[in-house]
């Protein structure tokens, strides 16, 4: 059965890649697109069945091997960890594929629709193969294909200036990530003499170097701060189904890589501290940046950074605890991280897809121009709310359970006998708590401003509910949000883990029971009279959307309190009638939020490189004489070399 499912999935993916390309040539665009996405669904189903079988039976399964040359071989081995990530990929891709059937039809350029579908399938299958890879070579191979296909997808609306900027950022960062990985892999190879992951041997000094590079490589891809900058650019630029995949799945593949290699390498405590620190920073800064963001997709992108941070916190705790010898707590933390990975994949894809529907309906990504959509798109609103509630870690949804696991691991940190570690953990815990509360605040804003009250623009007023498939896709994930939360304890016990977690099924039942009970009791006890009236408009005859609280207003208190993090920059421009600047003509003053990392880290580095590059360019600007002179000087140096060595 297993032998059959995986190849079936790959074959279906192959069809899904090729069919739309052929279709666009023979003029059967739409049909082939849909056929391809159905193939994707089949493929995801097959992979899902395959992965679930392995997850539940806790076996490992090695797949075919193909070698280009004896040294470069593709070998695949799916163990429980890999299968878990395969499940994640398959579930989210399945939902995204359903969503896409309808969604791609809404994208602008007819000729690009088929390409998007085809590349999306390449993207998915490359992620599947990365996770299934056993040799570092095939890992890298498919990692690159994943990077490339996602890059092309990000560029799908390449005419837009912001897409170009996003493309450049994404391209450079993703390449940087690959190079770090390449360094680490080759470094490991020089020690072990093979690309085989199973052969990684322990040599503390060497593995630390390897780890740092692996961490950087995976960290960039996962979007940890300060390497996060590509995320908030790339996600808004790409189509929403792609953002869902990128944020939901691709950055998880990086998490997979990190965990996979952590488990292979001999860990050291400072790795754990590094991961924890990076995770904490990403989590809190991610959410803080998200608060200020009013572009809905960018907001979600910043939340991805935050959630990656949370996942890394779990991973860091795992390293610290397992090295201190507390296997149970360590495992709780790791399981929390992994579960949060799954959960984040689910609710973030859900959020991205629903936000895609909203953007489609309103034609804007700015939440200040939305509002009142809950009446116009009730289903989408409900789905978004489920996602928002899950990501805000409210019980009994899935996001809560995974954060709870990490919290519980934190709460047991007294077992560590090392005060230094404990102080680090406590600080991290406080920041983590802040993060999750801010996330809730942010999603109150995101949901409240987007969906509630009056529409804030004409487009929002005209918005229509999305087509059925664009509901069904996210709905699957929404259902999973609930199911994974409520059934978490049962799920873990089926998998053979027993964690000291509260029974969410019980809590969920109680919550709904009390809800219904209160509802019924109120019907009986209280007055049933109801009246619809207008909201008081502070004395104005009618209330308009202009009077509503805005998103900026909403986040203002937090922004003011955290103003040391939101650095602002003032720019003023003055024009004068005369040359000496005496008679003032007009001027412009603006205060804008400083993109700290962009302006203090990325741009300076880029500028240095640009300057050096210009210098080098200038050195070569010249005619024959200059270059003959170079050659002359070089040969004179050669003479000296000969003299030196002779």
């Amino acid at each position: 059965m297993l032998e059959f499912l995986f190849p079936l999935g790959l074959a279906a993916f192959f069809l899904a890649v090729v069919v739309p390309l052929v279709g666009s040539k023979i003029g059967a665009g739409k049909v082939t697109r849909q056929a391809s996405l159905i193939a994707t669904i089949v493929a995801c189903g097959a992979i899902l069945a395959f992965a679930l079988e392995i997850v539940f039976s806790n076996q490992s399964f090695s797949l075919f091997v193909y070698q280009i040359t004896p040294q470069f071989q593709f070998s695949f081995l799916v163990d429980r960890l890999a299968a878990f990530f395969l499940t994640l990929i398959a579930v989210v891709s399945l939902a995204v594929a359903i969503y896409s059937i309808s969604y791609v039809e809404h994208t602008e350029h007819e000729e690009r629709k088929n390409l998007i579908v085809s590349f999306m399938n390449i993207f998915i299958v490359s992620m599947v193969l990365v996770v299934a890879s056993f040799s570092m070579f095939s890992f890298l191979f498919f990692w690159e294909i994943m990077a490339l296909s996602s890059f092309l997808l990000v560029m799908s609306e390449f005419e837009k200036k912001e897409t170009q900027k996003a493309g450049i950022f994404y391209f450079v960062m993703t390449h940087l990530s690959t190079l770090f990985l390449l360094f680490a892999f080759l470094f490991i190879y020089t020690v072990t003499g093979t690309f085989d992951m199973g052969q990684i041997r322990a040599e503390p000094l060497i593995t630390s170097v390897a780890f740092v590079f692996l961490f950087l490589g995976f960290g960039i891809k996962a979007g940890i701060i300060p390497f996060h900058k590509w995320l908030p650019y790339a996600h808004p630029a790409s189509p929403s189904n792609i953002s869902a995949l990128m944020s939901g799945v691709m950055i998880k593949v990086a998490v997979y890589g990190l965990i996979r290699f952590l488990l292979l390498l001999p860990m050291q405590t400072w790795w754990g501290i590094l991961i924890l620190a990076a995770g904490t920073t990403s989590a809190v800064l991610g959410v803080i940046y998200a608060l200020k963001e009013h572009d809905i997709k960018r907001l979600l992108a910043y939340h991805s950074i935050e959630n990656i941070g949370i996942i890394l916190i779990g991973v860091g705790l795992y390293v610290i605890f397992s090295l201190a010898g507390f296997e149970a707590i360590a495992f709780l933390a790791l399981a929390g991280a992994l579960f949060h990975t799954l959960n984040h994949a689910i609710f973030k894809s859900l959020l991205f897809m629903t936000s895609g529907s909203i953007v489609n309906a309103t034609g804007t990504r700015n939440i200040e121009e939305m509002g009142g959509l809950i009446k116009r798109m009730p289903k989408t609103a409900l789905l978004f709310l489920i996602g928002a509630v899950s990501i805000s870690a409210l019980p009994p949804f899935n996001g809560f359970v995974s954060e709870l696991m990490i919290f519980q691991a934190f709460f047991q940190s007294t077992v560590l006998a090392n005060p230094f570690l404990e102080v680090i953990l406590i600080s991290s815990l406080a920041v983590f708590a802040l993060t999750s509360a801010l996330a809730a605040a942010c999603f109150v804003k995101a949901f409240g401003i987007t969906f509630l009250a009056l529409p804030r623009s004409e487009e929002a007023k005209e918005a229509k509910e999305s087509p059925k498939l664009m509901i069904i896709g996210p709905a699957i994930l929404a259902a999973m949000c609930v199911a994974l939360g409520v059934l978490s304890l049962q799920l873990f016990s089926v998998l053979g883990f027993s964690f000291p977690l509260p029974n969410m099924l019980f809590i969920g039942a109680l919550l709904s029971g009390f809800y219904v009970f209160t509802f019924a009791a109120l019907r009986e006890v209280a007055s049933r009279r109801e009246r619809i009236a207008e909201t008081w408009g502070c004395g104005f005859p009618t209330q308009t959307s202009k009077m509503e609280y805005t998103a900026s207003g909403f986040s203002e208190p937090i922004v003011t309190i955290l103003k040391s993090i939101f650095r602002t920059q003032k720019k003023s421009e003055r024009n004068y009638y005369d040359d000496k600047g005496v008679i003032f003509k007009d001027g412009k003053a603006e205060i804008h939020l400083m993109n700290f990392f962009e302006e203090r880290l990325y741009m300076p580095v880029a500028n240095i490189v640009r300057k050096v590059s210009l210098k080098v360019n200038n050195l070569q600007r010249g005619d024959v004489d200059l270059h003959v002179a170079y050659a002359f000087a070089t040969i004179v140096v050669f003479l000296l070399i000969i003299w030196w060595f002779a």
Partner: protein
């Protein structure tokens, strides 16, 4: 069945002379073009035939001026294949050039004569056993390719050609000095001097390492200039950007490999001496310098063909690094890299040629709405770019990984340096292509679509298929061929 070397060489020469004669007497562009398609095709077939049925290596009788071994056949195979495609591409391209007055119909004959002569010169250069003979043939390739560059109606082309001629020729003189040194050395040791590579290989280990090192450095100067190694590279980007696209492809794929071939041959001799480590570091240093300079320059390019030209410099540098590493695996993959690079680069230049005819320029500011006007060229550029920066599936990926791996074995810092360069290269290429292909200009009135003929598209498709097929499928024959080259070069 055995083939004597003289016979093989004679067939090559006869085919060349016949085609040349016919070209001189032919009237129409079509005939000349077909003739220059025929010649590389014949050469390709001949090469494959020799490779399959010949007893390799074979030497000529008497003076031992020529040698057929696996390396020369391999290089000729690559070159004749590229010439074949370039000739196929040329018809459409040259017609287009004539249409936009970049070239005169009167120069056609000169173009094709020089084209075929260049192929012959390159072929015989690869066959040359005598290093001095190789040297003069390499000089001839300079001369013929200079004609091919200057043939366009632009003063800039003359400047570029002058740069080419002066830089390479002056540097080649130093190569000659190096050869004199080698000759003296053998004369000193053996009584009578020789420049025959095969003889040199057999006596190399007895030669004085100090002078051999000096000789290597001097010969390196000229051959490095031929292959565009920094700081002798300046001709390469300007010549590549000014030459007609098929010529650029040949320059980048074949003429540069003549230089690299020379370096390989001399390296093979010098590596038998005790100075091998020094030579290795020397090569690695120059490879690295070339890569760094080229990569940094690429970041600020606005000219597509120049960018591709600098990428050639960078790749040549990487080849040197591979050669400098000197292990049999490194050389094996470095040889394969020559092929992969030549194919990829040719496809890039072919695509750039289509854009050139569409926009009459290859500069960024003139190129707009590429996907609208030239979707084919846009995609082939993207795929070529993906291939050249060594993404997986492309044939460059494997050798790149392996050479990097070998460099990691030598020193992790070297690896780090190489990776940094690759980042710059990828960034340079990526950013350029992103900017180039996404430029949009809605109110560009009256731009006519340039219809690239099928003959221009087929070579690109063929090359890209070859590049991406070789990235995942490595034929056993190729492995054997490369292995025998490595063993013939005496690499341990």
């Amino acid at each position: 069945m055995t083939l004597s070397l003289n016979m093989i060489l004679a067939v090559y020469a006869l085919a060349g002379v016949a085609v040349l004669a016919l070209t001189v007497f032919s009237k129409s562009h079509r005939t000349m073009n077909i003739l220059s398609i025929v010649l590389p095709a014949v050469y390709l077939v001949l090469t494959l035939f020799t490779l399959t049925y010949g007893a390799i290596p074979t030497y000529s009788l008497g003076g031992n001026y020529f040698l057929i071994d696996h390396l020369s056949l391999y290089e000729i195979m690559i070159c004749s294949f590229l010439f074949l495609l370039a000739a196929l591409y040329s018809y459409g391209y040259i017609e287009g050039s004539i249409e936009i007055h970049e070239m005169d119909r009167s120069s056609l004959k000169l173009f094709y004569v020089a084209f075929n002569l260049l192929l012959m010169a390159i072929t015989y250069a690869f066959f040359a056993d005598n290093l001095a003979l190789f040297w003069i043939l390499a000089e001839l390739t300079t001369a013929f390719s200079a004609v091919l560059i200057v043939i366009m109606n632009a003063p800039k082309n003359i400047g570029a050609t002058l740069k080419y001629v002066f830089i390479t020729s002056t540097c080649m003189l130093f190569s000659f000095i190096g050869l004199i040194l080698i000759f003296t050395l053998t004369e000193n040791n053996l009584g009578s001097g020789t420049l025959n590579w095969s003889t040199l290989m057999s006596v190399a280990s007895t030669l004085s390492p100090g002078i051999m090192f000096a000789a290597f450095i001097f010969t390196f100067v000229g051959f490095a200039a031929k292959s565009g190694i920094v700081p002798f590279h300046a001709w390469l980007p300007s010549a590549h950007s000014k030459a007609p696209a098929p010529v650029s492809a040949i320059l980048s794929g074949c003429v540069t490999s003549v230089g690299i071939y020379g370096i390989i041959r001399v390296y093979a001799i010098a590596s038998q001496t005790s100075e091998l480590p020094k030579i290795s570091w020397f090569l690695i240093a120059f490879g690295l310098i070339s890569m760094v300079v080229a990569a940094l320059t690429m970041l600020n390019q606005v000219n597509l063909k120049k960018l591709i030209g600098y990428s050639t410099v960078e790749n040549m540098g990487f080849l040197l690094v591979g050669l400098g590493l000197g292990t049999s695996l490194a050389i094996f993959w470095m040889l394969f890299y020559t092929l992969a690079h030549a194919f990829t680069k040719a496809s890039l230049f072919f695509s750039a040629g289509i854009l050139h005819h569409q926009y009459k320029s290859v500069r960024m500011e003139h190129i707009k709405n590429v996907f609208k006007f030239q979707p084919f060229a846009a995609w082939s550029l993207i795929l070529g770019g993906v291939a050249i920066i060594g993404m997986p599936l492309s044939a460059i990926f494997l050798p790149k990984i392996e050479i990097l791996l070998q460099s990691a074995e030598l020193s992790p810092y070297l690896l780090l340096g190489l990776l940094t360069v690759f980042l710059f290269v990828a960034a340079g290429f990526g950013i350029f292509l992103i900017k180039l292909l996404s430029r949009k200009d809605e109110d560009a009135p009256g731009v006519k679509r340039y219809e690239a003929s099928l003959g221009m598209k087929i070579p690109i498709v063929v090359l890209l298929i070859a590049v991406f097929a070789l990235g995942v499928f490595f034929p056993q024959q190729l492995t054997d061929l490369l292995n025998s080259i490595v063993s013939e070069l005496g690499i341990r």
